[in-house]
């Protein structure tokens, strides 16, 4: 089993700070800066042990990049300033604009995926134990994620139950539309009941208490973790100041 990369091993605030700062810089920096930022982000993400974020990020951005190139590089002002290539006119300025916007999107997606892939929810919860208000925000996000999972499981159970009672889901579109009613009604009803009982269940477990929680596995906040976070904050502040002063 390979060792976790830097981001996965770091204090949970570090990949989140990296992600937020990188997304902020992608919005604030000018064209050339964004292209450089995209390259640096890709290097940092790979070195930090989240290379799969690059694969998934590129796959996500590719369709968008295609349309950016099509709209700005080919269909833009190519008729007046275009360079003829393979029977069509390419607009270099439009192409550059498409590259910058694509890099902006790619950087933000890479940053978000890196935080998502390297942040362990349990460690993040432990890390915010000392901050009741923040703990509530993080825990409610995780409860929402769990609720979606429960809802999906419940939907599967209802589909199985209704099929066992003779409901046919295959066939004409009209048949499929008609099949929705016996599926949606019990699903919505059970969701309403479940949300009520879940609220009581979570209340009984102390989810909503405003006391300072005890972290079960306190995480060391190492000096280099703090350095990365302060550097991320400083970079965003500097970019913001430059943007305002310009």
């Amino acid at each position: 089993m390979s060792a976790p990369g830097y981001f996965a091993a770091a204090h949970p605030f570090t990949p989140i700070a990296f992600s937020a700062a990188t997304a902020g810089l992608a919005l604030l920096l000018p064209g050339d800066g964004v292209l450089l930022l995209a390259v640096l982000t890709a290097i940092a993400v790979t070195a930090g042990g989240a290379a799969r974020a690059i694969r998934h990020g590129v796959l996500l951005v590719l369709p968008l990049a295609f349309f950016l190139v099509l709209l700005h590089g080919v269909l833009g002002d190519a008729s007046t300033a275009g360079v003829p290539i393979l029977g069509t006119a390419i607009d270099p300025a439009g192409l550059r604009y498409a590259a910058v916007q694509g890099a902006r999107l790619l950087t933000m997606i890479l940053a978000t995926l890196t935080a998502a892939y390297t942040t362990d929810p349990a460690r993040l919860l432990d890390a915010v134990s000392g901050r009741p208000a923040l703990w509530r925000v993080v825990s409610l996000l995780l409860v929402t994620r769990d609720t979606v999972r429960r809802f999906r499981d419940r939907a599967g159970e209802i589909v199985d139950a209704q099929r066992a009672r003779g409901l046919r889901l295959r066939g004409s579109p009209w048949r499929k539309v008609r099949a929705l009613r016996p599926l949606l009604f019990p699903l919505l009803l059970s969701a309403l009941v479940d949300s009520e009982t879940r609220a009581i269940g979570l209340e009984s477990r102390g989810l909503l208490t405003m006391r300072q929680r005890t972290p079960l596995a306190p995480r060391l906040d190492r000096w280099h973790d703090r350095l990365v976070r302060y550097a991320a904050l400083a970079a965003v502040l500097a970019a913001l100041a430059w943007r305002i002063a310009r």
């Binding site: 362990d120 929810p121 349990a122 919860l125 134990s129 825990s139 995780l142 409860v143 994620r145 769990d146 609720t147 999972r149 429960r150 479940d194 009982t197 879940r198 609220a199 009581i200 269940g201 979570l202 209340e203 009984s204 477990r205 102390g206 989810l207 208490t209 006391r211 300072q212 929680r213 005890t214 972290p215 079960l216 306190p218």
Partner: protein, 272 residues
């Protein structure tokens, strides 16, 4: 300090009839009180009232007094039915799930870890400690949430159908731990409809029917009589056997009332 229900009435919002209708009873420290009930009699509601969740969370109209032994948040450990509704959904492992409430209350870390280890061992689920709670079976989930209630080491233990989905080993462990909790001076209040498990451990019985108390006293008098059958909730299998024997041979003195209702009682009566 006792747990006392004094002339308590409670009606859920929009409900036609009250869930509890002028009920009173008292639970003493060191005792196990069993709420035996007909369906919809208000036993779960009584637990929510004792835990302070109703009417605060549920809404509804409340009259009377529920005196709890200790004030403050989570003075009592509560197990709901079905227990799975109490899974936090955010604990990554069973160990974290069991530690969830003590950690939420800010208990010292060393005390939490010790209590969690003891609770996992008590319910025989040490091997599940690293598992994701979302992947557990019904019986495993029941044990995990019972362990979570135990790990709180509260002076008040409120359990709704604790034997649900448990196998025989789980039931034996539950009975042993209920006795242990009572022995350390905790107040134990259990809503349950399984006389086979509860009759052996309860020393105080409160029977609820349609929101009213129809019996408050020692379990043996109620379980050996006709009332469980009149109410339609039944008694133990031994009591049912004795009742059948009595019907077959009404003049046989061996089957005369009061009937035995435990295996030990049957052996004492008919063993010779």
């Amino acid at each position: 300090m006792t747990l006392a229900f004094d002339d308590v009435s409670f009606r859920y919002p929009g409900a036609a009839a009250p869930a509890l209708d002028h009920v009173s009873w008292q639970c003493e420290p060191g005792s196990i009180t069993w709420l035996y009930h007909t369906p919809g009699a208000g036993a779960s509601t009584a637990l929510l009232l004792a835990a302070g969740i109703a009417p605060r969370r549920t809404g509804g109209t409340f009259h009377g007094t529920v005196q709890v032994p200790h004030s403050g948040e989570h003075a009592g450990a509560l197990l709901l039915s079905p227990a799975a509704t109490q899974l936090s959904g955010i604990a990554a492992t069973v160990r974290e799930e069991v530690a969830f409430t003590p950690a939420a209350l800010g208990r010292p870390r060393a005390a939490i870890l010790e209590a969690v280890d003891q609770a996992l061992a008590a319910f025989g689920i040490e091997s599940l400690a690293g598992r994701d709670p979302a992947t557990l079976s019904g019986g495993e989930t029941q044990r995990v949430l019972l362990a979570a209630a135990w790990a709180l080491q509260a002076p008040l233990l409120l359990l709704d159908a604790p034997e649900n989905a448990l196998d025989q080993d789980g039931r034996d462990r539950l009975q042993a731990l209920l006795r242990q909790e009572a022995a350390r001076g905790a107040i134990v209040l259990i809503a349950d409809t399984d006389p086979e498990v509860m009759a052996e451990v309860a020393d105080h019985l409160v029977v609820l029917d349609q929101g009213r108390v129809v019996y408050d006293g020692a379990p043996d008098f109620f379980l050996a009589g006709d009332a469980p059958w009149t109410l339609g909730i039944g008694s133990t299998m031994v009591a049912e056997l004795a009742r059948a024997a009595q019907a077959l041979a009404p003049d046989d003195p061996r089957f005369a009332a009061p009937s035995p209702w435990t295996i030990d009682g049957a052996l004492a009566r008919w063993g010779a």
